[in-house]
C-alpha cells in the first residue's frame, strides 16, 4: 500500500512532494535520487496535494521531479531479542554492521535490519494451545544475555485470541513462527519480531503505579539529597564543562538497574566512542558480566543529520518501553534533550511556523512533556512490576536556566539536578548545586534527617557570603563553626571522587552508615579556643572521612579510618559535648 509522489521543493533537509491518493501523517517516505539512492524521510505536514517531509539524510543531489515513494507505515522500530548490547543510529541501523557494509563514512541511503536474522535463540513456550491471550501477553521466552526475554502476543492485537499453535522448546531464529493465534476464524502467525511506531507510547499493562522504590545511582548527593525513583523522571541541566555527560556516564555504569539505554542525541561522537570502546571491558559488579551486556546505545551525534537526531530520542524511548513490557527495570539516559529541541526548532523554521520564545516552536513544551510522560512504573498483565526511568540532560544556552527547554523540562520531571559552573570550577564533583536542585521523590534516608543536614548547607552559604564582606575577624565563632560544618558535609558527603575505585560507587548501606557518622559530626557541639583551632579540627576530620571513603567496605582499612575519626571526636576540643 504505497503512494507515489514527485518532489516539488528542496530546502535544507526539508522536501515537499506532490502526491496522488492519500497519505498518512508521520508516514515514512523514500525520496529517490536520479542515481537510484533512496533517502528515508518522514511526512511532517500535509497541505492539500502536497506533503512536507523531513529527510533523514543529506539532501544533496535531489531534484524537482524526482520520485517519492510514500509508504503507509509510520516511522517504526524493530523490537525483539537481540537489541541488548547493540549500537544503533537514530533510525535503528546497527552502526558496526554499517561500517562493515558501507565503510568509514555514513553514506546516505543505506538501511540495515536492526535485529540479527541469523542468530538462534533458545525458545521455551510459556503459553499452551487453547489458552486465551490478548496483546502483550506472554507466549514464550528466550534467554537474552542474563534476562528472560518474554516473547509476547503482538501489541497491535485486538481483543482475546486463542492460541492455536505454539512452538516446542528449541532453537529458533527471530523470523521463525513461534505461535499461531486465532479469533473468529481469523489466524495470525507470530514470530519474535514486533514493530512499533516510535511516536506512539507503547504501554500495555494493568495499571500505572506511583513510583515508590528508589533507583540507586550510588552517587551520595543524588541518592540521599535528590533521589530518583524507579519509573521516575529527572533532568540534569548545566553549562558546558560542568560535567553533565560525565554524570550520565557514571550513572550508566553504577546505577542499580537491569538495562540502561544511552541515547547520545546530538552530542560529541567522542563521548559515544568512549562508551562503546570501554563498556565491553568494564565489569558490572551486580552481574559479573560486562557493562555492554546491559546497555543499548542509540547514537546520533552532532554531525549526523538533524532529522534523525529528532527521531533518535523516540527510538530510544520506544526500546525502553519495549523492555519494560518484557519485565525489566530500564533507565533511559538522554544526552542531550536540548539538541533534540534544537532539531525541532530547525524543522519548525523550515516549515515557516510562527516561532515562540528563542525561535523554538510553540509545541516545544508539550513535546517535552509527552516524552517524559512515557516513563513510569507499571503492573504488567502477568502481575510483574516493571519500570522505565527517564533522565535527560539539558544544555541551556549560556548556562542560563531561564531558557525554554530547561523551563519546559522542569515542569514535568520529578527531580532536578542542576549543575553549576561555580562548583565545577572549584572541582567539587559531581557539580550538582545542592542549593538549587530539588527532588519530589523520597530516598532511602528519612526526609526530615536529610532536610536537617541540608539546612547546614544553606546556613553555611549565607555565613560565607557574610564573611566575604566583614572578613573572618567579624564573624562569630559559632557562625564560623556552622560554616565549617557545611563545608565538611560538602567535602565528605556531597563530593565523590569518580576516579577512585571505591569512592566512585557508594551503595545504599554504606551511604546510610556514612550519613549517620556525618550527622554525628554536624550535631557535635565543639568548643574551640579560636578559629584556627576550629579550622584545624575540620581539616583533620575531612581528611579522615575522605580516607574512610576510599577504604573498601568492611575492611580493616575502613575500621582503622573509623577509629581515627572517633579519636578526633573524643579529643580535647571536641570532648566538651
Amino acid at each position: 500500500m504505497s503512494t507515489t509522489g514527485r518532489i516539488v521543493t528542496v530546502y535544507g533537509n526539508m522536501v515537499t512532494a506532490e502526491f496522488e491518493g492519500s497519505v498518512r501523517q508521520n508516514a515514512v517516505a523514500y525520496c529517490q535520487r536520479t542515481d537510484g539512492v533512496r533517502l528515508m524521510s518522514e511526512i511532517i505536514r500535509v497541505r492539500g496535494k502536497r506533503c512536507d517531509m523531513q529527510v533523514f539524510e543529506l539532501t544533496r543531489g535531489l531534484k524537482v521531479g524526482d520520485a517519492v515513494e510514500i509508504t503507509d507505515e509510520l516511522l517504526s522500530v524493530e523490537l525483539g531479542p537481540g537489541l541488548i548490547g547493540m549500537i544503533y543510529d537514530g533510525l535503528q541501523n546497527p552502526l558496526p554492521e554499517m561500517a562493515e557494509k558501507v565503510g568509514k563514512f555514513l553514506e546516505p541511503g543505506h538501511y540495515l535490519k536492526a535485529l540479527d536474522r541469523a542468530q538462534q535463540w533458545e525458545f521455551a513456550p510459556v503459553a499452551s494451545v487453547g489458552d486465551t491471550v490478548s496483546a502483550a501477553e506472554n507466549l514464550g521466552k528466550v534467554k537474552e544475555k542474563i534476562f528472560d526475554h518474554y516473547i509476547m502476543a503482538p501489541f497491535t492485537l485486538n481483543g482475546e485470541w486463542k492460541v492455536k499453535k505454539v512452538a516446542a522448546a528449541g532453537k529458533y531464529k527471530v523470523e521463525d513462527e513461534i505461535a499461531v493465534l486465532e479469533k473468529d476464524g481469523e489466524t495470525v502467525s507470530v514470530n519474535m519480531i514486533q514493530r512499533w511506531p516510535v511516536r506512539m507510547p507503547l504501554g500495555i499493562y494493568n495499571e500505572r503505579l506511583l513510583p515508590t522504590e528508589p533507583m540507586v545511582t550510588k552517587q551520595r548527593i543524588i541518592d540521599t539529597f535528590f533521589p530518583v525513583m524507579l519509573g521516575g523522571t529527572y533532568c540534569i541541566p548545566g553549562p558546558f564543562g560542568a560535567g553533565k555527560t560525565v554524570l550520565q556516564q557514571i550513572t550508566s555504569r553504577h546505577a542499580e538497574i537491569d538495562l540502561v539505554i544511552v541515547a547520545a542525541c546530538g552530542e560529541r561522537a567522542g563521548e559515544v566512542v568512549e562508551t562503546l570502546r570501554e563498556f565491553p571491558h568494564l565489569k558490572d559488579p551486580r552481574t559479573g558480566k560486562t557493562l555492554i551486556e546491559r546497555t543499548i546505545i542509540i547514537c546520533n551525534t552532532s554531525s549526523m543529520p538533524v532529522a534523525a537526531r529528532e527521531s533518535s530520542v523516540y527510538t530510544a524511548i520506544t526500546l525502553g518501553e519495549y523492555y519494560r513490557q518484557v519485565g525489566l527495570n530500564v533507565l533511559l539516559l538522554a544526552d542531550s534533550t536540548s539538541r533534540w529541541a534544537q532539531a525541532l526548532r530547525e524543522m519548525s523554521g523550515r516549515l515557516e511556523e510562527i516561532p515562540g520564545e528563542e525561535a523554538f516552536p510553540a509545541y516545544l513544551e508539550s513535546s517535552i512533556a509527552r516524552f517524559y510522560e512515557r516513563g513510569g512504573i507499571v503492573e504488567l498483565k502477568d502481575g510483574r512490576k516493571a519500570s522505565l526511568t527517564v533522565g535527560g540532560t539539558v544544555s541551556p544556552a549560556g548556562g542560563n536556566f531561564e531558557e525554554p527547554v530547561t523551563q519546559g523540562t522542569l515542569k514535568v520531571v520529578g527531580a532536578f539536578l542542576g549543575l553549576s559552573y561555580a562548583r565545577s570550577y572549584a572541582r567539587r564533583f559531581p557539580a550538582i548545586d545542592p542549593l538549587e536542585s530539588w527532588s519530589k521523590y523520597s530516598g532511602t534516608i528519612a526526609g526530615e534527617k536529610v532536610a536537617w543536614a541540608h539546612a547546614f548547607l544553606r546556613r553555611g552559604k549565607s555565613i560565607f557570603e557574610m564573611m566575604q564582606v566583614v572578613g573572618e575577624e567579624g564573624t562569630s565563632i559559632d557562625d564560623f563553626v556552622i560554616y565549617l560544618k557545611s563545608e565538611f558535609l560538602d567535602n565528605v558527603y556531597l563530593q565523590q571522587n569518580s576516579f577512585d575505585e571505591v569512592d566512585a560507587a557508594c551503595p545504599t548501606d554504606r551511604q546510610e552508615h556514612l550519613f549517620e557518622k556525618v550527622c554525628n559530626v554536624l550535631k557535635h557541639e565543639f568548643v574551640f579556643a579560636d578559629k584556627a583551632a576550629a579550622r584545624d579540627m575540620f581539616f583533620t576530620l575531612t581528611e579522615q572521612f575522605r580516607n574512610w571513603n576510599y577504604a573498601p567496605w568492611q575492611t580493616d582499612r575502613m575500621k582503622e579510618a573509623e577509629a581515627e575519626i572517633s579519636k578526633s571526636l573524643s579529643s580535647k576540643e571536641a570532648a566538651h559535648a
Partner: protein, 432 residues
C-alpha cells in the same frame, strides 16, 4: 551541451533566483556577466524557482546575466600537488600558480561512522608548558582558542602548527586581515613547514559566501589525507567570522533567527565542521584547532557558547597568557597518565597553589594583612607566571615539569604543596 539561462528574477543579498529545471540541490552553477564570472550554489529549489548563493556576491549581477549549471556539487582537486599551495576560500589558486583539476573530490560529505572511531590516545607536544603540562593537546582532539580580539591567538596557532609533529598542516583562514594571512604564510615558510602545508585563505575583503566554503574545503582535504593514514592538523581562524557569515546568509534567506540574529541551526553547522576531528583505527587522524573570538569577552555569546558544547575543551587566551582556570582539555586524562608519574600531581598541585595565590592577591588588594604563608604564595605566583605561564616559555614537557618542581622547591616545603609524599621524595630537587 551546456544549457544557459538568461533571466534572473530576484536578486537579494548574495542570493539570486531564477527559473530553471532539472537542477539538483546543492548543485554548482556559474553566473557570467559583464562584471565577471562567479560560481554559485543551489540553496533552495521550489517548483521551477532555483535560489543560487553567488560566491562572489551579487554586486553588479544583472537580471540578464548568463547562468549555467555544472551538474555536480562543489568539488575540489585532491593530490599531493596541493602541498605548499595557497588557495582562496572558494578553492581558487591564490599563489598565482595553475589551477588543479585532477582527481576531483566532493566537498562536505557525510560524517564518520562513530563505530570506526578510536579514542584519541596520543599526546601532541607543543613545547608550551601551559598546554603540555596543564592542558595537554591530544591527537584527534577538537579544541577552540577562545579569545578577545587583540590577543595573540594567531601567534599561538602558528606556534602550535610549527611545533606539532603533523604530517600535514591545513590552514583555513576566514575573514582574515591581509597582514594576518601574510603573517601565517611567513611563519610557516620561516619554520620550514610550508612544504607540508596547504592554505585556504579567505580575507576580510573577499566575498562573504567564500567564508562559508573555507572550512568545508579545508576539512574535506584533511579527511582524505587522514583516510590515507596521515596525521593532519587543521587550523581554523576565525570561526566567529564563519558564524557571522552564516548569520548573514540565513537572514538574507529570511530564516527566523534564534539568538542574537544567529540561525537556529548554528549548533549543527558548527558541529558538522568540528566533528571532522577523528582518529581512525588505521592511524590517520585529524586534530582541529580553531580560533573563536569572543565579542566583548563574553563566553555566553552564541558562538563561543555553542562551540563549548561541541568541542573537547577550550584554551582561554586572556591577557596574553593561556588562562589556567577557564582552559580545559577534556582529553588530557587520556594521555597524561602515561607521560611521567609526576605529571598529574604537578598539574593539580601547581594550579591549586596558584589559585590560592590569586585569592591571596585579592585579599591583599582589599587591605587584609599578609601572613608568612600569604607571602610565600605571592612569591610563588610571580615566579609561576614568569617562568611557566608566560607565552615566551618554550621547553618540552619534561623540562617544564622539572621547572615546576624547582619553582615549588624555591618557595615551599614539600608538605605544603599537597603533593603525595612518595612523589616529592622522588622528584623534589636536592639542595645544592
Amino acid at each position: 551541451m551546456r544549457k544557459y539561462y538568461t533571466q534572473i528574477d530576484n536578486i537579494a543579498g548574495n542570493v539570486a533566483t531564477l527559473k530553471a529545471s532539472g537542477v539538483a540541490y546543492e548543485e554548482l552553477a556559474v553566473v557570467e556577466g559583464s562584471w565577471g564570472k562567479s560560481l554559485a550554489q543551489v540553496i533552495r529549489i521550489s517548483d521551477d524557482n532555483v535560489s543560487l548563493q553567488v560566491f562572489a556576491g551579487t554586486r553588479g549581477v544583472s537580471t540578464g546575466d548568463k547562468v549555467s549549471f555544472l551538474g555536480s556539487s562543489m568539488r575540489f582537486s585532491f593530490s599531493d600537488d596541493l602541498f605548499g599551495r595557497v588557495f582562496s576560500g572558494g578553492g581558487e589558486p591564490r599563489d598565482g600558480r595553475s589551477e588543479l583539476t585532477d582527481n576531483l573530490i566532493e566537498v562536505g560529505g557525510p560524517s564518520v561512522n562513530p563505530a570506526v572511531r578510536l579514542m584519541p590516545h596520543r599526546m601532541i607536544p607543543t613545547n608550551i608548558p601551559m598546554i603540555d603540562v596543564f592542558n595537554t593537546l591530544v591527537e584527534g582532539q577538537k579544541l577552540p582558542i577562545f579569545s578577545i580580539p587583540g590577543e595573540p591567538y594567531n601567534e599561538l596557532l602558528a606556534r602550535i602548527a610549527l611545533q606539532a609533529e603533523a604530517d600535514v598542516i591545513i590552514f583555513g583562514g576566514m575573514g582574515l586581515k591581509y597582514d594576518e594571512y601574510l603573517f601565517f604564510k611567513n611563519q610557516l615558510e620561516e619554520g620550514g613547514a610550508m612544504a607540508r602545508t596547504i592554505m585556504f585563505v579567505h580575507t576580510a575583503s573577499d566575498p562573504v559566501v567564500e567564508c562559508l566554503q573555507t572550512p568545508d574545503i579545508a576539512l574535506t582535504v584533511a579527511e582524505r589525507f587522514a583516510v590515507q593514514g596521515k596525521r593532519v592538523l587543521v587550523l581554523l581562524t576565525d570561526m566567529t567570522n564563519f558564524a557571522n557569515a552564516l548569520k548573514e546568509i540565513s537572514i538574507t534567506m529570511e530564516q527566523i533567527p534564534s539568538n542574537r540574529g544567529y540561525p537556529g541551526d548554528l549548533y549543527s553547522q558548527l558541529a558538522s565542521r568540528y566533528e571532522k576531528a577523528v582518529v581512525f583505527e588505521e592511524g590517520g587522524s585529524i586534530t582541529l584547532m580553531a580560533v573563536t573570538t569572543m565579542p566583548g569577552d563574553d563566553v555566553t555569546h552564541p558562538v563561543p557558547d555553542n562551540t563549548g558544547y561541541i568541542t573537547e575543551g577550550q584554551f582561554y587566551l586572556k591577557n596574553g597568557v593561556i588562562d589556567p582556570f577557564g582552559s580545559l582539555s577534556r582529553l588530557k586524562q587520556q594521555v597524561n597518565a602515561k607521560t611521567r608519574d609526576d605529571h598529574r600531581a604537578i598539574m593539580d598541585g601547581c594550579i591549586q597553589l596558584y589559585s590560592t595565590c590569586r585569592e591571596t592577591r585579592e585579599k591583599r588588594a582589599m587591605g587584609f594583612e599578609m601572613s608568612d604563608w600569604d607571602q610565600k604564595l605571592l612569591k610563588y605566583g610571580d615566579s609561576f607566571e614568569k617562568q611557566i605561564m608566560s607565552f615566551s616559555a618554550n621547553v618540552n614537557l619534561f623540562d617544564a615539569l622539572q621547572q615546576c618542581w624547582e619553582i615549588l622547591a624555591a618557595h615551599f616545603e614539600p608538605r605544603e604543596t599537597g603533593i603525595r609524599a612518595s612523589l616529592c621524595d622522588q622528584f623534589w630537587p636536592k639542595q645544592q
